[in-house]
Amino acid sequence: MASTIKYKPAGNLSWLVSTIYIVFLMLPIYWLINMSFKENSEITGTFSLWPQNPTFRNYMVIFTDPSWYNGYINSIIYVVLNTIISVLAALPAAYAFSRYRFLGDKHLFFWLLTNRMAPPAVFALPFFQLYSAFGLIDTHIAVALAHCLFNVPLAVWILEGFMSGVPKEIDETAYIDGYSFPRFFVKIFMPLVASGIGVAAFFCFMFSWVELLLARTLTTTAAKPISAIMTRTVSASGMDWGVLAAAGVLTIVPGALVIYFVRNYIAKGFALGRV
């Protein structure tokens, strides 16, 4: 077959480019991991490319101190809450945008988009006032709702891209077969866009996980995210570099785990389902 003729990208040195780039990406991360296994005296005293006396002390500090590991639990709670809310709200809306034209649809879509583009810094202050008025400050749901500001538009956008790829005949056939809309949507349509739902959920997870400004503004103690605890505890205890590095490494782990499952779709997600 003709498909055996393969186009060779840029000669034989092409692997070198990817390799150099990946090394560049990994070096700072390696340094963080390296530090997390060192004692503080080794970090500040000697300069070593790998831990001379590997120690798990830094990780033990985090796993035994509730004020540290609660940060992870808080982060995971609000991230999961936010992902569920965002995807559930976005599903019907994305269906509406992908299937129907209605009064003001384009402007509505654009308005959603502007919220994705709005700088969180603009909203930090009124959010604080708003959630104070509802007595929601320092709760997980407050952060989860605040992150909906940029995650719901994103989820609508990604899902709309995936849903537009499903032929409309499928809807029509289902209605002729006597399916009601909710049954059709759950039984037939959602399995068809399952990968889109997965990608949207992943992106909501990701952007909620990496955001700090709003999460920090809306929490004080009970729901404080790990990333905010990191900045606090470190400055209070006089730069415990080892624990800081260990905490940083632990924040990378969840992302690294979930990324494996969506590796083939991640680019499509960033392209908002429009590759």
């Binding site: 909203f123 202050l125 009124p126 700090l212 990324i259």
Partner: protein, 288 residues
């Protein structure tokens, strides 16, 4: 796809509408209200008219932050887009290398932004960081805490490290969607490497590149956490971008009025830019 007119579709959009109205419309209205008043706490407000806006528009601090932000976004685009295209062109197209590349390259995108800042803060330190220490050993005078140029270089390299993968992934997705037949035809015609890029690969990447350019522009225009962690906006004000300035005013000094007025000006700029984004994107949709 031909869409049917159906105004009942509004009911499907309603949940999103309520959710976003709660988290966007009410705060935005509040910001507008604050922007024309002055407060000393205790929910007591005094009419200030358009004074805050005039103050913002005439303050050198705001224009400097805006200029810095535009310069930063420009440098980021000029570096990340060509680099991203170049790496995507050289990525393996099949085999075991593909998932390895995808997972490793996407990794920086999933690190919490302040951890990104922390990583680079440590990495660049002369006493304990690999980069800072190596540069010092090589005799390079590098200190991002004291030297504004070094601070800028650090923040830019950090952003390249953090976000170039986004451009790579998007371009890669565009590239793998090109059918083999195109390349065969080019081979038969004896097309050069450059013309393959210019006439086959670039047009196919146009759409994703547009998304990449605009996403990168928007995100670099509202960057906050990473430079804040690394440099805290300094040395001096040299890396104080708009968001950092805004948070300093709103949270640091608790000047609600000026902060709100600044939010509105900032938001209007973003609104204009995202409208251009959206218009360009939807009209390129119509082309294809």
């Amino acid at each position: 796809m031909e869409k049917t007119w159906n105004n009942k579709a509004w009911f499907l959009v309603l949940p999103v509408l309520l959710l976003v109205a709660f988290s966007a419309v009410i705060p935005l209205m509040t910001v507008v209200n604050y922007s024309v008043q002055d407060t000393f706490g205790n929910n007591e407000f005094f009419w200030a008219g358009t004074d805050w806006f005039t103050e913002i528009l005439k303050s050198a601090r705001f224009w400097e932050a805006l200029q810095r932000n535009l310069l930063f976004s420009f440098i980021i685009l000029a570096l990340e887009i060509p680099l991203g295209i170049f790496i995507a062109l050289n990525m393996p197209k099949k085999g075991i290398g593909v998932p390895i590349c995808l997972v490793l390259m996407a990794l920086p995108l999933l690190i919490p932004w302040n951890v990104v800042g922390t990583i680079w803060q440590v990495f660049g330190r002369v006493d304990i960081g690999l980069l800072g220490h190596t540069l010092e050993a090589l005799g390079v005078d590098y200190n991002y805490v004291r030297d504004p140029i070094d601070a800028w270089i650090t923040v830019i390299v950090m952003d390249v490290w953090h976000w170039t993968s986004l451009v790579v992934l998007l371009c890669y997705a565009g590239l793998v969607s090109i059918p083999d037949a195109y390349y065969q035809a080019a081979k038969i015609d004896g097309a050069s490497r450059w013309s393959v890029f210019r006439y086959i690969q670039l047009p196919k990447m146009k759409r994703v590149l547009l998304i990449a350019v605009l996403l990168r522009f928007m995100d670099s225009f509202m960057i906050y956490t990473e430079p804040f962690v690394v440099t805290g906006g300094g040395p001096g004000n040299s890396t104080t971008f708009l968001s950092i300035d805004l948070v300093k005013t709103a949270v640091g000094q608790f000047d609600l009025g000026p902060a709100a007025a600044m939010s509105i000006v900032y938001f209007l700029i973003i609104l204009l830019l995202s409208w251009i984004f959206y218009t360009v994107m939807t009209s390129s949709d119509a082309d294809t």
